[in-house]
């Protein structure tokens, strides 16, 4: 196409690497965190950890994976994907954004119900948050929470 510039070698592979790394890291983190929370619930562990930040990763990974396909295709073949494929990929990316918004709220609500039913208390001293990222910690008793926060402080 007229006026379209050929991407540099760095641009070609850096783009693919960025999207691949982010989507892989995101999905692995989501699976590990979800597995950890579910196993805490099943085993009725005295400390239940819910990483709300990791719940954003499912949707974010779907989005970055969809975009990765288009970016990687462009890097390898130096041309854009077909209009039909592009439409599918963009729909996938937008679906990922919707999942990214919904999953953390839904899972947080579900975890909230479980901890309420099982009489867990929220251990604010052991929690951590930065921007959208938040790690919730629930404990069976106040003593467990106290021990946990002392342990964290001593690290």
């Amino acid at each position: 196409m007229m006026g379209e510039m050929k991407p540099s070698l760095l641009e070609r592979f850096l783009g693919s690497a960025l999207f691949l790394t982010l989507s892989m890291a995101g999905i692995v983190w989501f699976i590990l965190s979800a597995f950890s929370s579910v196993s805490d619930v099943i085993s009725s562990d005295p400390v239940l950890t819910f990483n709300k930040g990791a719940m954003y990763m499912l949707g974010a990974s779907i989005t970055t994976s969809s975009l990765f396909i288009g970016v990687a295709y462009h890097s390898i073949f130096l041309r854009k994907v077909s209009s039909k494929t592009e439409k599918t990929l963009i729909r996938g990316a937008i679906f990922g954004v919707l999942i990214m918004i919904l999953v953390p709220q839904v899972t947080h609500f579900a975890v909230g119900r479980i901890v309420h039913e099982r009489h867990y208390i929220e251990c604010h001293q052991a929690e951590y948050s930065w921007l959208l990222y938040k790690k919730y910690v629930y404990t069976k008793t106040q003593d467990v929470c106290q021990n946990l926060s002392t342990e964290i402080k001593s690290k």
Binding site: M2, G3, E11, G15, L22, A25, G53, L67, A93, I94
Partner: protein, 292 residues
């Protein structure tokens, strides 16, 4: 001038309308609620938790919500997914082409826009729009985080200047990396896709994923805590260095003074002894003295 009666009334009014205002941090308010006997009542506990949660959420969600608002505004203005917006090059310059019924659109009512048109940038369409959204989101995050950190520093008793500087430094680095990654993602996507909505979707997803990963890494490796400890250590080192230097200067000055004093005393003694010797020699000499 007010009469005595009026003055009394005014005094009474002021007395009855006195208010005490306490400025406390979230943590301090939390402690007050917990220690207050009525604070254990469920409705008071719930009200405080809701208020506290809203304060935290309000500060942290704004920047990301702003990007999502841009995206939803864009989708809304394009009439859902009925309008197709894609990038095409005419006369060597990229343009945003809108296909669909223009009557459904409120802002982008035309069919062709330059890639750097203010309307396109404001709506976050195309590469320039997405980069602009990422930049403004990054700046907004830094402003909100700085305001939050500074307020927290002033309202928390145990907070130190090192904690403020350390936390702000890592915040700025994290936001900077997330913004940079978002801009890079928008650039790559705009090169690979013709759909104009692609870059802003990439900005939202990559911004969220990068900031989350950086937060988790910071928490896992305790980077912020290490930076604060480093600043504390540096402060201690500087203080101890200044103290040591001052002591050295004092010691050197004292030594120099002592040496000068010793030299003066020694010299004075020598001069006195020499003079005394000379005088004595003169008076006790057996040689006759000649007086002119």
């Amino acid at each position: 001038m007010l009469s005595d009666q009026e003055k009394k009334e005014l005094k009474q009014k002021i007395k009855s309308n006195q208010h005490e205002v306490f400025v406390v941090s979230i943590e301090e308010m939390d402690a007050i609620i917990k220690s207050w006997p009525k604070g254990n009542l469920p409705h008071i506990k719930n009200a405080w938790q809701k208020l506290k949660g809203k304060m935290e959420v309000g500060a942290s969600y704004y920047a990301s919500a702003d990007d999502l608002r841009t995206l939803s505004n864009l989708v809304g203005d394009l009439g859902g997914f009925t309008t197709k917006a894609y990038v095409k090059t005419y006369g060597g310059k990229p343009h945003i082409i809108l296909k669909g019924y223009p009557g459904l659109r409120r802002i982008l009512t035309g069919t062709k826009y330059g890639i750097k048109s203010p309307k396109v940038i404001a709506m976050g369409l195309g590469k320039a729009g997405a980069i602009n959204a990422a930049k403004s989101g990054g700046i907004l995050s830094i402003v909100l985080l700085s305001a939050y950190r500074v307020t927290d520093y002033f309202l928390t008793d145990q907070a130190t200047l090192s904690q403020l500087i350390g936390a702000l430094a890592t915040d700025i680095v994290k936001v900077g990396i997330a913004t940079g990654a978002s801009i890079a993602a928008a650039t790559f996507v705009s090169a690979a896709f013709t759909v104009a909505i692609g870059p802003i979707v990439a900005v939202v997803a990559v911004g969220v994923i990068t900031s989350m990963l950086l937060s988790a890494l910071d928490k896992h490796y305790g980077i912020t805590d290490k930076v604060i400890a480093g600043i504390d250590e540096l402060g201690d080192d500087v203080n101890s260095y200044i103290k040591r230097a001052k002591e050295n200067v004092d010691r050197s000055a004292a030594n120099a003074t002592a040496e000068v004093f010793d030299y003066v005393v020694e010299s004075a003694t020598r001069i006195l002894i020499n003079t005394a010797k000379h005088t004595l020699q003169k008076f006790l000499s057996p040689q006759p003295r000649i007086f002119k």
